[in-house]
Symmetry: C2
Subunit: 342 residues, 2 copies
């Protein structure tokens, strides 16, 4: 068991560690970016799914968030959060659970993308004088995720997609307005919100999520620099395999996920401070590391020594961990426990 104030090296590995100072800085920068732009920030919780990070992202207001599962919605509702947007086209098997959340919260928003979904809602009227904002079709807002920003490389490309998505959304709002419908609008994605374009000020909200943690993928896209990435997986060398010119580490796919296959010259992750090392493959609890070129100098990697992985996709890596170890300047502060399931 580790205690507060200990060094990261006190942790048993593999361990997901979160640099809380970077998280706070990333969150604060997004808050300021949105304030400057004049658009409401509605942060997405799906990357971390913890109370502590949600508090940092909402500046402690516990209001105006997005979630990807009803498990998250209930978890946050249970802890005093409100104005929760469930960013998922209404699943027909979860109408009752959505109705229950609508009845207990001041504001719970669901997405509809099909007339049949509207019928499903109408079949379950809300109690206590509440109502779905759907009668006669009263639209609350339009929600779009510019997932195509993930193919971008560099700020210029990101901003081109951000501009395109914003323009499409605003044009659609104009058409709705011409039909007598006014409503809110929200677009998302960490790349576009890390480098917003001016026209995004005309939207009601933005809903990025990954930006408090960031990851190698976001640095490759250009959303952030590698120094901004707030999460790492600590792992230890547990084997020398000179006949294969490889090291074994104690991080398999249970500690990192299989996301990022074939995306990086360094394999499934980057190994901090060792640009010539590649995480070649993983089994359930083992990782195989080899040099990108040349023979491995085993004296640099004694058995038991620590290596630090920067994850390709922090959403996928965080999902594998039942607990995150939080530190400031390499000293442990405590643990964050995410919610899981659906």
């Amino acid at each position: 068991m580790t205690t507060v104030g200990e060094a990261l090296s006190a942790l048993c590995t593999p361990a997901l560690v979160v640099d809380v100072d970077k998280v706070k800085r990333n969150a604060q920068m997004m808050i300021e970016r949105c304030q400057k732009l004049g658009v409401q920030l509605r942060p997405h919780m799906k990357t971390h799914k913890t109370l502590e990070c949600a508090d940092i992202m909402t500046g402690g207001s516990r209001r105006c968030i997005v979630v990807s599962t009803l498990a998250e919605a209930c978890f946050y509702a249970d802890h005093g959060f409100d104005d929760i947007l469930y960013a998922y086209s209404l699943p027909f098997d979860k109408v009752e659970r959505c109705a229950a959340l609508s009845e207990r919260l001041d504001l719970f928003q669901v997405l509809l993308d099909h007339p049949q979904a509207l019928e499903q809602l109408k079949k379950r009227p809300l109690r206590d004088g509440r109502r779905w904002h759907t009668e006669g079709v009263e639209l609350t807002g339009i929600y779009a995720h510019c997932g195509n920003t993930y193919n971008c490389r560099g700020v210029e490309q990101i901003q081109a997609v951000a501009q395109e998505t914003t323009s499409f959304t605003l044009q659609f709002m104009e058409k709705l307005k011409a039909a007598g419908i006014t409503c809110k609008s929200s677009i998302g994605s960490t790349p576009s919100c890390s480098h917003p374009v001016k026209d995004m000020a005309q939207l009601s909200e933005v809903h990025p999520g990954n930006y408090t943690f960031y990851d190698v993928q976001q640095s490759v896209i250009g959303s952030c620099s590698l120094e901004d990435v707030a999460v790492r997986v600590l792992t230890r060398v547990i084997g020398h395999c000179p006949h294969r010119n490889q090291l074994l580490i104690d991080c398999g796919w249970t500690g990192l996920s299989l996301d990022g296959a074939g995306k990086l010259p360094t394999g499934y992750a980057m190994i901090e401070g060792h640009p010539n090392l590649k995480l070649l493959s993983m089994t359930q609890e083992h990782g195989r590391v080899e040099p990108i070129s040349g023979p491995l100098d085993y004296s640099k990697y004694p058995l038991g020594s620590l290596l630090t992985l920067i994850p390709y996709h922090s959403c996928a890596t965080a999902m594998m961990h039942p607990v995150y170890h939080v530190h400031s300047g390499g000293r442990l502060l405590g643990k964050w426990t995410p919610t899981r399931g659906w």
Copy 2:
């Protein structure tokens, strides 16, 4: 919330469902196979990590198991299991935790594969008159995993690898014997233990794990038939995308894992009863399904309808679920809760 006796369709999706009758049959067949062969079965817990399945695999004895993490070891020890083999080359950061388990259990076995690991153990003598079986190097046994069976296709190839691994292990035992050392021997892998060769009777133990669940990968290898696979992920159609000739389902990589990429013509899984459908790609909470050929007949897949995924790798899929829903003949019996972490 679902109740006992309800149909599987009462579950919110995605959901991992376990056919307990198949689990029991697979477990019983392995028990009988080992009895017939005359070799001790030491089942591996890493696929499911639950008490209930461990009871089925050990025939209720709660003795003689293998685990892949110390979290599993502690979980099983806390629930009265003993004679636990931690099938992991002794990690230097976990010597104290291994020592504590050795002191509280009748028998806790660790693996050594390096002289430095032996030094680590010797630095932490056990209390209460217990001792590591290492002084003067007294070997308890040899442990091998014939992971190369996973490249096999069909019983003949599996048995060739099983024979080779057994022969190598027995030859090594002979060399040890010539040096005055007698000890136990154990080999593993679900393929080799599903189709054992006669010489495996000369080993002390076998340690397969995946066989109670099995999966598509094991059926491709030839360890089992598809009918033997005891786990499924239930998912629902949540979107029609005729412009892409695709369906959206509510199972992303959080519900299935990314294991199996590029391995099957049907994508990341098989969709039961729909051999022409392919699970093309997944995001965190969405899956994209398209036909292998031809246009999609959307009338066969109404919004809200259930699809059943047979996982490529049940170890990886089970890891993504905080709870497994157990059924007999399609009627829910209850839930199994796995342990997680390290």
